[in-house]
Symmetry: C2
């Protein structure tokens, strides 16, 4: 058994305890005589599993009762259409802040349905910062204002003071920071996250929507499967949900709870990020690509400034058990994604390895 340290942007590492529990329960869940994968989604046994997952989301994220928690399919890319279809119904326009490729894709898809106002963008500097906005920049008639809270590719994230000061409903993609740092749900109308970074296996999307935003009315032509009201009414079981993925997500949530919740994980995540950023700030070879005040706790891009050296580092890192550390092609260099399940030792050993590499390649 030689598990690697997986710095993938997602899907990525899961807690070993979770995988071991899933393995132990694979052929028989409790005394049910069956795998969770084999369970009818209409059975009492499975209802308890999905109810438990929802209860844990509510507890861990402090989701108030006036919000609906849904487990959907189709990833963030489906939400890019579902959000304007469900929310863009009054004035048919929305504000978007373009902080990277995913926010851009969300805006482009929304623009196929409603008027999109691109309030601000950090495209001028390869999305290496979060733009500062002020209340005057927002459309008072926008049906909502959309942000990507943590930008997986570019390694930036929002801090309190940069959250848009708008009267419109705030919508945030929190795929790569969900349950990794505390977020005040009550500030948002919609929070959503693909599971495959911090929550579990790919194929489940957690979507949290304030109830007053869920109505029968949607844009004309909205597919039934994209209507929040349908999934709300049916407790995420309008059709067969991704049952096994939701079960594993529940195991991950239980692990988060057992670790002391987001509060405690955030402390560890800040410690992990600090180890890596401190080294990047002191290194003569490796440099972080993001302005210090907007640095993500989860995704840490860095470069040597020399493509050949980058490639050599990525190859040697892999040979030493640090995998998926190559950066996204739009930034180049390297990226270490250090989600909740990445242990502190993983980051310490990576920095050790980087130091050794730097010494050997001066």
């Amino acid at each position: 058994m030689s598990r690697v340290y997986n710095f993938s942007a997602g899907p990525s590492m899961l807690p070993l305890e979770v995988l071991e529990k899933a393995a132990a329960e694979m052929t028989e869940y409790g005394s049910s005589g069956q795998s969770v994968m084999e369970m009818s989604h209409r059975s009492k046994e499975y209802q308890a599993i999905i109810d438990n997952a929802e209860a844990l989301v509510r507890e861990i994220m402090h989701v108030p009762d006036n919000y609906t928690v849904m487990f959907l399919q189709g990833g963030a890319s489906s939400q890019f259409a579902a959000i304007p279809m469900n929310l863009g119904i009054k004035n048919k326009k929305a504000d978007y802040i373009i902080t990277g490729q995913w926010a851009k894709k969300a805006a482009d898809e929304a623009e196929r349905y409603i008027t999109v106002n691109r309030v601000a963008s950090s495209a001028d500097k390869t999305f290496s910062y979060i733009p500062q906005t002020d209340s005057s920049m927002f459309d008072s008639e926008a049906d909502y204002c959309y942000i990507c809270y943590n930008n997986t590719i570019y390694g930036t994230h929002y801090t309190e003071n940069k959250i848009p000061d708008t009267k419109a409903t705030l919508v945030a993609d929190i795929s790569s920071c969900v349950m990794a740092e505390e977020i005040d749900v009550t500030k948002f109308g919609i929070l959503y996250a693909g599971a495959q970074k911090n929550l579990g296996p790919a194929g489940v999307t957690l979507v949290i929507v304030r109830n007053d935003l869920i109505t029968e009315e949607t844009l004309d032509g909205t597919p039934t499967m994209f209507k929040y009201s349908i999934h709300q009414k049916n407790g995420s079981m309008y059709n067969t949900p991704p049952t096994y993925g939701i079960y594993v997500l529940g195991l991950v949530l239980q692990w988060i709870k057992d670790k002391g919740g987001v509060k405690e994980l955030q402390k560890i995540n800040e410690k992990k990020a600090k180890i890596l950023y401190d080294f990047l700030d002191s290194s003569e070879m490796f440099k972080g690509t993001v302005v210090p005040e907007d640095r993500s706790l989860m995704n840490v891009p860095f470069v040597t400034g020399n493509d050949e050296l980058d490639a050599k580092f990525v190859a040697e890192a892999k040979a030493n058990g640090f995998i998926n550390i190559k950066g996204h092609r739009s930034v180049g260099g390297m990226r270490a994604s250090i989600y909740n399940a990445m242990p502190i030792e993983g980051v310490e050993k990576l920095v050790e390895f980087m130091k050794k590499f730097e010494a050997e390649n001066k």
Copy 2:
């Protein structure tokens, strides 16, 4: 270890060998140092897994090269919209045959986008038969003609002589009979199936489309995630696919191949169905609800004609390890879904139990 016989309509039984292999590989897949669940979908390791799944689909179902095999999310309910959006573009009309609740839902969803001609229906007799049609009934201008090949709730299935004699492109939902009986792919423009009956875990939809039907053109407002061209171009990885589900689906396909493929499984399925139908035809208590010529190999509904006796049977069956045998509320009574993974012994033991119950409750 006391695994039950699970007669659920889906999700349902999976081969024990598949579950055992998944469990054994859960914390480390091969020498990758990681779970499949943790793998980047952009990694070589994962590409090999999805390529293998596709190759097995092509081999097992004899899918010609001029068809695209896709693994999508959102279930059949998403295809209900995707099909008219992608195929209903020329004359914006289609023929549907209403053989049950799922065909009805497909037609209702399509009608939100195009003109739907309901050619025939078996609603008059609670969908207990497949309507006979002839070529004069079909619209020569229909963009496609839609059928549900096997009707999970009502226990009917198409046989060769009832397949629509239309010039339009044939589209079939084969969710509950995929790889359980031989189907000639070349007769169809689209074949699709939710995985959770014969193929693996819920959350993956197998969609097979003839290449000439995949164009950039779709109905206005089609979400990007509903465009077949996008998924074709990106090899089912436009966004993160349900990676683990596709892996388990690959394990199931390997199991099907090892069993001798669909040809051999169909023989076993015919044997299993015969055991059950022969008993139903001889029993004085239990009666099948479907006309003999349209009986499904996979879903076998039956009733005693007495609601109290039905309920007693369901309860006693459960206590004896035959679970999820209660019928769908629209048919009542019982339903035994006997998918590929249900062993012949499961059916034999069920019939034994039914005989005993009949004797005790005369």
